[in-house]
């Protein structure tokens, strides 16, 4: 019904162009990263943002480099664990780096 409006169509066409430009710039910012999704799966045991309320260690205050090294250690079996070896084996080097960086950035944001 809006299209039947003789002025409406032109207005909306112009709007579409503006939106396309605006959206290209902000697209990346709007996307939820793979690291955010993987980190959110950590929160189930380790608490939201990695702040643990119980006997499972908190992971919110570990530097990105250290987290990479810990996770790689779990994955290779060099670092002893009960369950983390079984989890860490599910991720590539790149994913481990991204998620470690994500936690690092959360610290900067004060989460």
């Amino acid at each position: 019904m809006f299209l039947s409006n003789k002025h409406g169509k032109a207005v909306l066409t112009g709007l579409a162009g503006t939106l396309a430009l605006a959206c290209a710039a902000s697209l990346q910012a709007q996307e939820i990263s793979r690291a955010a999704v993987i980190a959110s799966t950590c929160y189930t045991c380790h608490g939201t943002y990695g702040v643990s309320p119980g006997s499972i260690p908190s992971i919110n205050d570990i530097s990105a480099e250290r987290m990479v090294s810990i996770l790689q250690g779990f994955r290779s079996g060099q670092r002893a664990s009960t369950v983390m070896g079984r989890h860490a084996s599910g991720y590539t080097d790149e994913e481990i780096k991204e998620v470690a960086q994500y936690f690092g950035n959360l610290q900067k944001r004060g989460k």
Binding site: F2, L3, N5, K6, H7, G8, V11, L12, L15, A16, L19, A20, A22, C23, A24, S26, L27, Q30, E31, I32, S33, R34, A36, V37, I38, S40, T41, C42, Y43, T44, C45, H46, G47, T48, S52, P53, G54, S55, I56, T82, V83, R86, H87, A88, S89, G90, Y91
Partner: protein, 434 residues
Amino acid sequence: MAGISRRDFVKLLGAGGAASALGLNAGCETVPKSAKAAPRVVVVGGGFGGATCAKYLRIYDPTLNVTMIEQNPNFITCPGSNWVLGGMRTMQDITFGYDALRDKHGVNVVHDRVVSVDGAKRVVKLASGRLVEYDRLVMSPGIDFRWDAIGGYDKAASQVIPHAWKAGPQTLLLQKQLHAMRDGGTFIICPPPMPFRCPPGPPERVSMVAHYFKTHKPRSKIIILDAKEDFSKQGLFMDAWNELYPGMIEFVPASKGGKVSRVDAKTNTVYTDEGLTTHKGDVINIIPPQRAGEIAASSGLVDQSGWCPVDQHTFESRLVPNVHVIGDSAVAGALPKSGHTANNTAKMTAASIVSLFRGVKPPQPSHVNTCYSLVGPDYGISIAAVYRLNDKGVLEGVKGAGGLSPRVAPRLQRVQEAGYAQGWYKGITQDTFG
């Protein structure tokens, strides 16, 4: 804005689909925030799926209008309910409210019951008569039982012979019966066929009841009459039973006459082997075969299997557009029906919904399941997996990852995992309700 009123402009942009009809959605539906009403998401069910989804929708996008509808003022978790039977927890310990969702995360929490969903008009009707409109709906109704599957075991019979597979009064009924049982009595538990909520739940329940018996009624026996041939973490459980509760527990698989065909609640008798064999129990626990929650069925979200087929990336229903189904009701590939799965699929769904509103690609899914079982207060075991979408769009376990606690391990590891089991419970309940 010549020729088009501001009201119409807002209406146009606010109505999902209108933008795409005008060709505005080529990769981006973003509109100036001031001109667009906040998209409305309604979440049905306040368990591990629903509560987590409502919380993470608001975390991923604090501008969203999120309403969660849950009929009960509190949620009593199934995880931990076996620990109540074992005397390790009280009902209060496993009961959670929704204050944090409301006050900390800005979710509109409505305590009401959904009576119907109109997927075409995108409206949910509540028992109070209230109508709630949505742009996207998330259904997380959990399970219901197939009351016609076992002769003599209907809703009324469950008031005498509990299922205790939804935590609450049923847990207390089973606990009361176990407490009243004489030393030297027999507890019979009858787990259902797959798929069902929490596959390692029945053997954990056996373990916790065995712990209670060992402590209070050491001459008692437990018989598992199983509709399956084997059960989750079987080797680990059986090793631990031999160590902690030797001679107390008998497992009868389906092929050896374990499948229950009929129950007589008046005489506390279970009939297996097509009714040829009878088992009399002092306390009986029937866990009936299951299906998706009734509201999912009446909303047209289930297929012939009794469960809800979904796009395993976004968890949008394959049957009703703009409706996502998460938790036990959904068919989620290799993911088991567990609170952990519900929590993880809820977050992925929240991320997908936010992305769809923004007109950007939902992130690639990554899920985890970690399931701890307590065999005794200081004896824990676990199974874990990481899940990804395969090229057929089905969630499957990442090869080389996951698996069980080792069959041979120092006792210290069982002690550690018992501690982590309880840490897991604190973590997931905080992440869901806190």
